[in-house]
């Protein structure tokens, strides 16, 4: 029998706010344990929450970007359950009147566009962290409440994905949107973007969904992809052997790359959601929504299309550049300086990304501004310096922050495009390599490459290779 996988994803993204959802504590990652807490996020008795307006507005951006219906009046609800990382033993979340419902996200897989439904987008607070001491003899778990109360956006998709590839495309597109709109920095390694997958399989063409397995502890997109593959195989095997897949919650074991049933008391989950009485409803007026819309930058999908249509970029290039908003912004600013778009894209995907990767830094950390890059590219396209010298100059710019012209000047890197000046060098190289000259004259074209290489070497890369080639042709008497 042919099976298909049915996948729905729940995404938790930490908002990129300065302070927490309901109090003024910082949300910085990596602070010493329990140093970013106050009576409110410690859940001390008597304390009360007050909603961070920015978190609501960032949530609205997400809901708009995902084409949700925006609730005219939204409110917070309490989700009641006991867990040591949850100091109040309830999580302030949304259940009855979510910020946004019934949206969709378009993804592209193998050139095909698919729509993934978004059931809802809502706001909530993050829990603290449980730390299991390294010391194996330690018989306790430590609680760090720094993360407790960090604003979270939860995005619940419909079970509309049918393969790990689609899930992967969904996650990447979602992350691109969240980053683009300044909603979340989506740093998976810091836990600011987390996923849970609902996975089931059924016979192709089946009407009913199979029993759903919820997989938690998915800390990277690749873990989601692997978990989907693993579950698909596991569930199909169960069905093939005549069994039934039980609905259950599983944990992804990162080391062993398998899912394991969660060991917890088999109690029926009953969260007893009810309206959070310490908070008042939020009315979202059309005027407020307009303001939020005005603050929203272009969505990644729109930007990609524009780069393809207006700047004539190949779809692949547009995809790579738009993935991260700062890169896309930088690219556009470079193009605005008059650089030909495809050339600018090559530089972005080549040298710029190489340096960012090498230095493990963000583009905003580079001392090279888009006009500075544009100047450098200009020098190359005007044949003032060679492409290879351009790369060296770029590295130098990234280190020193100096302008390309200055570096070229200082180090005498300008390309020798004067035939008189270059002719002397060419003559000398030809004289030094009579064998190569003989090869060339007998028709071996690769000898020409060798000779140009020698010329480049003699000029420390400054020779205009095209001119050098012409000179060789002329001087070898072709």
């Amino acid at each position: 029998m042919q099976y298909e996988t049915v996948i729905g994803l729940e995404t938790h993204a930490q908002f990129h706010t300065r302070s927490k959802m309901f109090c003024g504590c910082k949300t910085d990652f990596g602070a010493p344990p329990n140093t970013q807490t106050c009576p409110v996020c410690q859940g001390l008795p008597g304390t009360l929450p007050v909603v961070n307006r920015t978190a609501v507005e960032l949530g609205l951006r997400a809901a708009l970007a995902l084409r949700c219906h925006i609730a005219p009046v939204t409110q917070f609800d309490r989700k009641n359950y006991f867990y040591p990382d949850l100091p109040k033993n309830y999580q302030v979340s949304q259940n009855y009147h979510n910020l946004g419902v019934d949206g969709r996200l378009e993804i592209e897989v193998d050139g095909q566009t698919r729509k993934v439904g978004i059931w809802n987008v809502h706001l909530e607070e993050d829990a603290g962290k449980l730390e299991h001491p390294e010391d194996t003899g330690a018989n306790y778990t430590a609680i760090d409440l720094n993360r407790a109360g960090t604003p979270l956006l939860e995005i619940v998709s419909a079970p509309d994905m049918r393969s790990a590839d689609e899930a992967n495309a969904y996650m990447n597109e979602l992350a691109a949107i969240l980053r683009h709109l300044g909603i979340s920095d989506c740093k998976m390694q810091e836990g600011s973007l987390r996923f849970e997958a609902g996975i089931s399989v059924r016979a192709v063409g089946g009407e009913e969904f199979g029993n759903r397995v919820e997989v938690k502890n998915l800390n990277s997109m690749s873990a989601v992809v692997k978990a989907i593959e693993h579950e698909r195989h596991r569930q199909v095997a169960v069905l093939e052997s005549g069994g039934t897949v039980p609905s259950q919650t599983m944990l992804w074991d990162v080391q062993r790359e398998v899912t394991e049933p969660m060991r917890s008391k088999e109690e029926a989950k009953d969260y007893r959601y009810f309206p959070e009485p310490d908070l008042v409803p939020i009315e979202i007026s059309p005027e407020w929504l307009d303001q939020v819309r005005e603050q929203m930058s272009e969505l990644p999908a729109v930007r990609r299309k524009r780069f393809i249509a207006e700047l004539d970029l190949p779809p692949y290039d547009a995809g790579v550049i738009v993935e991260q908003k700062p890169i896309a912004d930088y690219f556009e600013q470079t193009v605005e300086q008059g650089v030909e778009p495809k050339t600018a894209a090559n530089w972005m995907m080549g040298e710029v990304m190489r340096v960012l990767n090498e230095r493990q830094c963000e583009i905003d950390d580079l001392p090279v501004s888009p006009p500075m890059l544009a100047e450098l590219i200009g020098l190359v396209t005007d044949d003032r310096i060679s492409n290879s010298v351009g790369k060296t100059v770029f590295s130098e710019m990234c280190s020193s922050g100096k302008k390309a012209g200055e570096i070229v000047e200082e180090k005498g890197l300008a390309q020798i495009s004067d035939s008189g000046e270059l002719e002397a060098v060419v003559k000398q190289v030809l004289a030094d390599h009579p064998d190569a000259v003989a090869d060339l004259e007998s028709g071996k074209q690769q000898a020409k490459g060798f000779l140009i290489g020698q010329i480049m070497r003699a000029t420390r890369g400054k020779a205009n290779p095209k001119l050098a080639g012409e000179l060789i042709d002329r001087l070898t008497g072709d």
Partner: protein, 490 residues
């Protein structure tokens, strides 16, 4: 100086400012009286003698230097022990918080400190403010100063008893379904439950968030006005606190009450009310007429649903509010080796009393899958009908005169085995909280056993002034306030 005990908060402050008495003398006198009397009454969980004397010394010092002091300078005040006080144990009269010392002050406590009131101690209550006799305290039973074999009412029984026994001229309490007004009535003092949102709840350990409101105990409405002026007003830390400006309640007090329309709800004078209480209400109506007010019969048709509605909503919110008491981050933790789940259950089972457990379970039930619509959601709908009753009635009258409790104070132990009977006695107070309205209870006579009988006035949101004014005029026209419990100092 026994006369200090007889003075109102306003008079104490004036004497201090006139130089007739020092803050130290006032505070020492009250501490001495607590020492003499509170062994019999049991109003206090904690007496903060040292801090009170330090504060008094600071006030005297500033007065000596000619510096400004606040409007409550030198006035001792007792706080219900569910109001967080930095560095002072705040127990909610519960084992689970027996050793809890908040690292922060409630907003009302900050405001009192700024007004230079002298915090003299924390008072007993029914555990987590759940109860109406103060017998549900995990620590001690508070006695009614008028008859030590009777309860002071609750849940703010300690605060009411403290003011009635002359152990503090002022006290704060909290009122979720009558927890200020009923003990005020039982103890013959003035209890004001302000409009929901009038006073910040920040630092009040929540019982039921949409019903809780901090309010005042005093000997008379004038002191209530003085204290409300200090504690009322918007607080950015409480999302449910109102932006409404705070009037000069003391000045408003003096205005004429002639022509005021007073509603007398027929449902509040129906079956179930004791004859002495009904007589006091009717006599109070007559007094109002004598003052030039117009008394009009009105109807609040959904009154009979108030108790059920209140207990469903109140316990639902409580079940969630009290989930945090689990022995993990603070509070009492069960001893021994066990897993986390057992730690929760053992800590809570050992640390919480029966009434609290009962309400947590009721609320958990009302919110649980399959029952949410039939109980919790249904109650929210009836709540709207109850509020509408008041909106309609208060469109035609300025305030509503009603009994506070069906009877005078109970004997200790009388109601202990019948929780439902005790719940039903909240019939005249709980609707006010559901509707979020202000109400003031005060002594309106003597009933069975020479015990005080209280009545209450309920009003439109944020119209505390009108209630205080009429209560004040009532006091000026009667002499019920002259009666004192017979408590001789050793």
């Amino acid at each position: 100086m026994p006369e200090l005990i007889e003075l109102s908060a306003g008079d104490l402050h004036r004497k201090l400012m006139a130089g007739d008495v020092t803050a130290r003398q006032i505070v020492e006198r009250y501490l001495d009286r607590i020492e003499q009397i509170d062994g019999r009454v049991g109003a206090f969980n904690t007496v903060t003698a040292e801090a009170a004397l330090d504060k008094a010394a600071d006030i005297d010092d500033r007065l000596d230097k000619g510096e400004a002091v606040g409007p409550l300078a030198g006035v001792p005040i007792a706080l219900k022990d569910n109001l967080c006080t930095r560095g002072v144990p705040t127990t909610c009269s519960s084992r689970i918080l027996e050793h809890f010392v908040p690292p922060y002050d409630a907003t009302v406590v900050e405001r009192l400190q700024r007004a230079d009131a002298v915090l003299i101690g924390k008072t007993n209550l029914d555990e987590f403010a759940m109860g109406s006799t103060t017998e549900a305290s995990a620590f001690a039973t508070t006695a009614n100063p008028w008859d030590l074999s009777r309860v002071p009412g609750g849940s703010s029984g300690g605060s009411a008893a403290a003011v009635a026994a002359g152990l503090a001229p002022l006290a704060l309490g909290s009122d979720t379904g009558g927890s200020i007004r009923q003990p005020a009535a039982f103890c013959g003092v003035t209890g004001l439950k302000p409009t929901y949102g009038r006073v910040s709840r920040y630092g009040l350990i929540a019982y039921a968030s949409s019903l809780d409101q901090i309010g005042t105990f005093s000997r008379d409405p004038r002191d209530a006005a003085l204290l409300l002026e200090v504690i009322a007003g918007h607080d950015p830390r409480d999302s449910t606190s109102a932006q409404e400006p705070v009037p000069d309640y003391s000045a408003e007090l003096e205005k004429d009450v002639a022509g005021v329309k007073v509603g007398l709800p027929r449902e509040y004078l129906a079956e179930g009310i004791a004859p002495d209480v009904e007589a006091a209400v009717r006599a109070a109506a007559d007094t109002c007429r004598g003052l030039g007010a117009e008394v009009i019969d009105i109807s609040l048709p959904h009154t009979e649903y108030a108790v059920a509605t209140y207990y469903i909503i109140g316990t639902a919110e409580a079940s969630s509010n009290l989930a945090r008491f689990d022995g993990i981050h603070y509070g009492r933790r069960a001893a021994g080796k066990m897993d986390v789940d057992e730690l929760y259950s053992r800590s809570r089972s050992e640390g919480l009393g029966d009434e609290v457990k009962r309400r947590i379970m009721l609320g958990t039930f009302a919110l649980s899958a399959g029952y949410y619509d039939a109980y919790y959601l249904k109650a929210l709908k009836v709540r709207r009908l109850i509020k509408k009753d008041f909106d309609d009635a208060l469109a035609g009258v300025d305030c509503i005169l009603a009994p506070v409790a069906p009877t005078v104070a109970y004997k200790q132990g009388e109601m202990i085995d019948d929780p439902l009977a005790l719940y039903l006695a909240d019939i005249y107070t709980s609707a006010t909280n559901l509707a979020g309205l202000p109400a003031i209870a005060f002594n309106a006579g003597t009933g069975e056993g020479g015990l005080p009988v209280g009545v209450q006035l309920m009003g439109r949101p944020f119209e505390e002034s009108g209630l205080l004014r009429l209560a004040h005029a009532f006091r000026e026209a009667t002499d019920h306030h002259l009666a004192r419990p017979n408590l001789t100092e050793d």
